[in-house]
Symmetry: C2
Subunit: 354 residues, 2 copies
């Protein structure tokens, strides 16, 4: 009886050993040749794409202008055409796409994109599958605020954060949430609309495109901030900003305000200070509600962080729980304009693992 039991046990141990060996060998193979993913970041002005390895390293990249008058089919054709020129194109495993708008994540359908009027209920996943014509490639599509969070998780937090919030400061304000190391999209798929927290109930508060008034986005989105800046400039004129915009106020944008601050312009610095104060409220809300270990700022406006971070941190500290504030690192992404491509590719990788 004991002998029999021993025999059974030894056969079980042997199978376990074999399983471990197989796992080790397959892992070793993975180390030798890393899986490659295609990341596509579709924006209102350009489509960025690139080949990314399984560690989030961007190996090849490319950029084509977004033709807002083209049909989605034509846009997809030009994307695949650009992708096919990558040296590693044939080795790509899966494809991730990040883009603005309302997206049916389960079916890869782009319901609506504010910046691209021709994109209504577009079966983007199917279009890409057809155009790429490679049945082994799986295609995953998500909102660019979510793919940015995944990019920030791999690039800025080096895959080590537990709870990370990425805040995209662009034309509008978006946010992506990684909670307990996984993308959190909530029950309706649209979680993370931190930009629509109302911070000013005044009837004269700036209107937001969402239909409400006084939302954080109505202060922090570039388009709204520039309205404030232009009004401010009528009372506090700046020779430097006037020179940089060649006397045409319609040319003033975030980049010009950044350049003016860089040249030491007082008015530009005051404007960024004001921007930081409003951003500080958003940071405090994020910290109080989600207490993440990392917040990563990204998007075009985040490039001016040098001029707004100090007032943002001071305001955030004042308005948030001290232990939660102390736990949270607040940084600006190091991936700048490449975050979208890397995030989209890593979203494909993450989906493959689940």
């Amino acid at each position: 009886m004991i002998k029999k039991l021993f025999k059974k046990l030894s056969s079980f141990v042997l199978s376990l050993f074999l399983c471990c060996m197989i796992a080790l060998v397959s892992n070793a193979n993975k180390e030798v040749s890393k899986e490659l993913y295609l990341g596509i970041d579709i924006g209102g002005q350009s489509v960025k794409l690139g080949v990314v390895d399984s560690d989030g390293k961007l190996l090849e990249e490319s950029k084509i202008p977004t033709d807002i008058n083209a049909t989605p089919e034509q846009v997809v054709e030009s994307i695949v055409n650009a992708a096919s020129k990558f040296n590693a194109y044939s080795k790509i495993k899966h494809v991730g796409v990040g883009m603005p708008g309302d997206i049916d994540l389960d079916n890869g359908i782009v319901r609506f994109v504010p910046q691209l009027s021709k994109w209504k209920n577009v079966p983007l996943k199917k279009l890409l599958e057809k155009e790429m014509d490679r049945s082994s490639n799986k295609i995953y599509i998500n909102n660019d605020a979510n793919t940015a969070a995944i990019g920030a998780f791999w690039v800025d937090a080096e895959g080590k954060a537990t709870n990370l919030v990425s805040i995209t400061l662009g034309t509008g304000v978006g946010a992506g949430l990684i909670l307990n190391k996984k993308l959190y999209v909530g029950s309706s798929g649209s979680a993370g609309e931190l930009g629509h927290i109302m911070i000013d109930p005044d009837r004269n508060a700036p209107k937001c495109n969402c239909g409400s008034k006084g939302c954080l986005e109505a202060f922090l989105g570039e388009q709204y901030f520039l309205v404030y800046a232009k009004n401010y400039l009528t009372v506090h004129p700046s020779a430097i900003i006037n020179e940089l915009s060649e006397g045409d106020t319609s040319r003033i944008n975030g980049k010009i305000l950044f350049d003016a601050a860089k040249k030491g312009d007082k008015t530009a610095k005051e404007l960024w200070n004001y921007y930081g104060e409003k951003l500080g409220i958003l940071l405090a809300d994020t910290i109080n509600v989600l207490t993440p270990d990392v917040i990563v700022l990204c998007g075009g406006m985040s490039q001016s962080s040098k001029y707004f971070m100090s007032s943002a941190l001071s305001e955030a500290k004042k308005r948030s729980y001290s232990s939660a504030f102390a736990t949270c690192k607040i940084k600006t992404t190091v991936a700048t304009s490449k975050l979208g491509v890397i995030g989209a590719a890593m979203f494909a990788k993450q989906n493959e693992l689940e």
Copy 2:
């Protein structure tokens, strides 16, 4: 060789079968006699306790006043004394405690409780272990906003929600988050401070105990709402409220405003309408940021939901994304004052499973 392999395989299948049988039998046993848990809900005025089964059903309950002048040791002694009178006391498996304040979840230490000045760095877990003197009982302690969320998950959502937010409308405002069916406490353990989202930047906005101004709690917490109500009453006097409070404004509380509204008092209804408008902003923020499938309102003030729910829903709908608003059910807990005890007990059960 094949014979050997077959032998190994059959022995493996046999072990698998035995494992399954053991699992089935133990499961059947579970069905016959459900595990019992002790839930303890420590508040500033009373300590509620009860025996709860593994389905969240409250079988026995008890209540003792909180002696704010007693030492934590004395409070623990009277709690255990009350618990020992339960018929099922000897059958209790584990113990869950929910209480306000700053709690070190990992070590069961109560760092600080605003309502109980003698509770500073109290090793509550150890004190309870010592007093109960039953090594088989494990003790789990959490903030009462979190145990309320667990209670709401089992009682109000019948264990079926994926993402649930409970909002406790009491003296202050707390919130507990169940995300992807698990309690979410964030990286510093204090996630869910929705009450400290700032909604009014005006320098005359009401001050909040957190040190900031214009927080949602400074409008929705009972203590703050009553300040507003008393000011409102000086301009809009009410004979009914005056009668119910016996002419003494210091006696006005949420219950009196509820009773006045029930009697059809116009001023009381206007006050609850105002309360609903502010609550609607909190609901919209919760929906926009977390898009839960359920929001459960609890705490003393939630008992007046009949008079504020309509304005709250209308404001929340106006301020939130329509698909996220449509996905989210908003309800008032059916467990009323028993939610804390049930939640604390189910927190012990949940911990046991992890």
